[in-house]
Amino acid sequence: MKIGMLMLRHPPTRISPIMPAVVGLLKNWGCEVDIIYPEEKITLLSQVRAEHDLYILKSGTELALSLAGALHAVGARILNPYPVAATMRDKIASMRVLEAAGVPVPETYITSHARQLADLLDAGPLVLKPYRGSQGRGIHVIWDADELDDVSAEEGPVFAQRYHKPEGEDRKIYVIGDQMFGVRRIFPARTYEEKIGQPFTIDEELRQIALRCSRAFGVELFGFDVIVSKGRSYVVDIQSFPGFKGVPDAALRLADYVYSVGQRALNGETIFGMSVPAQGKAVTL
């Protein structure tokens, strides 16, 4: 089984043992794993073709996402399919998908100028987030209209959500295949220990939310963030390949899942309930 992983090389100071362990296990099981760092080479676009049985889009960079799009266009099988990864990267699109699927999300607004949100503050504070942001970067809670002046108009669409004061720690839900894992952690988590958080058991409400997310996007590998406010749960973000930090035996579970999907792909079976495009055959976007 040949697996191509689109990765971003992290600085040595950053602790991220899960993916190296996943790669080690897959190699141990006889898989040929090629790590692809899109940022570290020049890629001739006309030469991009599906040379692996399965690709994994782990990197969160724009170049990696676009390369995944190019691979998708030439029929590559991607564990976290490009259309889903692209939609999840865009909070505007992903929140609408979730809302349409009946997933509880905060009221969400988009505009081109933050100042236009001023009247909405009469009903309470807003959270402004970069619409393609991740890992809690660039998030601001806006209480007064004056603060809107500080939001740069050059950062693209303005994405705002009604602020619900969280009760307790944030909850991250990770889904690997038909398995769900809950991790409670403080926000924003800064150290590795804080990111690992504490596992918690998932109740029926969160399970139903996870199932709706899975059905809405047609995937079974993702993570999402939940806050609880006044007894209500809100999904505030969703990721196509999160870090899975805090999941017990995360590397082994991920490797087991990747291996089983790879076997299904090799056997020409469907993955994620979708038919697998024939290797090398272009698909319609």
Partner: protein, 396 residues
């Protein structure tokens, strides 16, 4: 020398046929699948991929023939002329083939040996009784030999489409040894590669069942509870690995007390067995190993039998009880999803007695019942066990 192998599946082709052919036998398969018959005859053979954790070696088995079991005349003729008859049909299918063997043996003058390559205690005696009961004169069976075979090789899958024209391939381990009961055979038997003839057969059966098979079942049932898909992935889970060791060690201590410490093989034997479970080239799905849990939970089988033997030796078989409870929780139901329907607190005693022959109020049965009661309430659809030691589940 002519050998007929009834059953052209994983063990029939992937072990028996390959070893017989390499020992110089003319080999004919009898199988109920007409596509397999066509494929084997079209190609005149098949391949076996012999694997270890680090390498794969393809072996071609050629010069073989195949007959459909629906062709009763040809099948009976082949069996009548055979010097050796081998079955590899899964033990639950033995009653279906017994009349065919009975008919052929009734027509023979010379005695024949029948070796059942089935993973089941006392399978030789079982098959002898089935064949005798299918004969017009049951006494005719006495001149023939019937033995089981304790096989070591795992053959996990068949690759290829029987309806296609390409040769089929069977993927298994390289190990060749299999043990046959010399005292149950009736006539001299030409040497077969890998065959070890023993006079004290039953200990060998129990040695395999209560160590290797118990460990394999442990990896499968606990791996299933923890959500893994393959034996070679589950064995990397530290808790499961430890449980596999513990379950086999409990079985081993029972064997040592009954048959002697040397026979039980010691820790090195357990480590060698765990190393076999790490073989990713076998690509063995957990649901395959875990299937048919009720048969595997029978009183003399790998979990309950091993637990009872350990208990009789003064060992507290806690790990085997936990695995037996996990097996009780398992229901294949086509997709390996959990099924709690069979668990009712009030029915525990009756179910344990019916499936395992255990008394839920005493000894090993009591430990199994307690473990079962701890596991079953959390078996919600989609739930999985995060920690065996802490009994931590993903969902409430």
């Amino acid at each position: 020398m002519k050998a007929v192998v009834i059953g052209a599946g994983r063990i029939g082709c992937g072990l028996a046929g390959q070893l017989l052919r390499s020992s110089g036998y003319d080999v004919t398969f009898i199988t109920r699948n007409p596509d397999v018959v066509k494929n084997l005859n079209f190609n005149g053979g098949y391949q076996v991929l012999l694997t270890t954790a680090t390498e794969c070696r393809p072996v071609t088995v050629d010069g073989i023939k195949a007959i459909a079991s629906s062709d009763a005349v040809a099948a009976t003729n082949a069996l009548t002329q055979a010097d050796l008859i081998v079955t590899a049909v899964c033990s639950q299918n033995l009653p279906a083939i017994a009349p065919l063997i009975a008919k052929a043996l009734s027509q023979r003058e010379a005695p024949a040996n029948v070796i059942a390559f089935e993973n089941m205690p006392s399978v030789g005696d079982c098959l002898r009784r089935l064949v005798a009961s299918a004969m017009a004169e049951p006494g005719q069976v006495d001149k023939h030999g019937f033995s089981g075979a304790v096989i070591s090789r795992m053959v996990t899958r068949r690759v290829g489409d029987p309806a296609g024209q390409k040769p089929l391939m069977f993927v298994g381990e390289a190990v060749e040894e299999f043990v046959v009961d010399r005292s149950a055979l009736c006539a001299p038997l030409q040497k077969i590669r890998g065959m070890k003839l023993v006079n004290d057969y039953q200990p060998w059966v129990l040695q395999k069942l209560y160590t290797f098979s118990a460990g394999h079942a442990t990896a499968a049932y606990l791996g299933w509870l923890k959500g893994y898909h393959y034996i070679h992935t589950a064995i990397h889970d530290a808790e499961i690995r430890k449980a596999v060791f513990n379950a086999m060690a409990e079985g081993q201590r029972g064997l040592a007390a009954k048959f002697g410490r040397e026979f039980a093989r010691g820790r090195a034997g357990l480590e060698a067995t765990v190393a076999r479970f790490e073989n990713a080239n076998l690509n063995d799905p957990i649901v395959r190993v875990a299937r048919d849990p009720h048969r595997k939970l029978a009183a003399d089988e790998r979990l309950v039998g091993a637990g009872r033997l350990a208990e009789a030796a003064g060992v507290f078989p806690q790990q085997l009880a936990m695995v037996a409870a996990a097996a009780l929780c398992f229901s294949t139901s086509g997709n390996g999803k959990p099924c709690t329907a069979c668990f009712e607190q009030s029915q525990t005693a009756a179910t344990l007695n019916e499936i395992c022959g255990l008394d839920a109020a005493h000894g090993f049965g009591r430990i199994v019942a307690k473990s079962w009661a701890q596991l079953a309430p959390s078996l919600l659809p989609g739930n999985l066990l995060l920690s065996l030691n802490q009994r931590l589940w993903a969902r409430v």
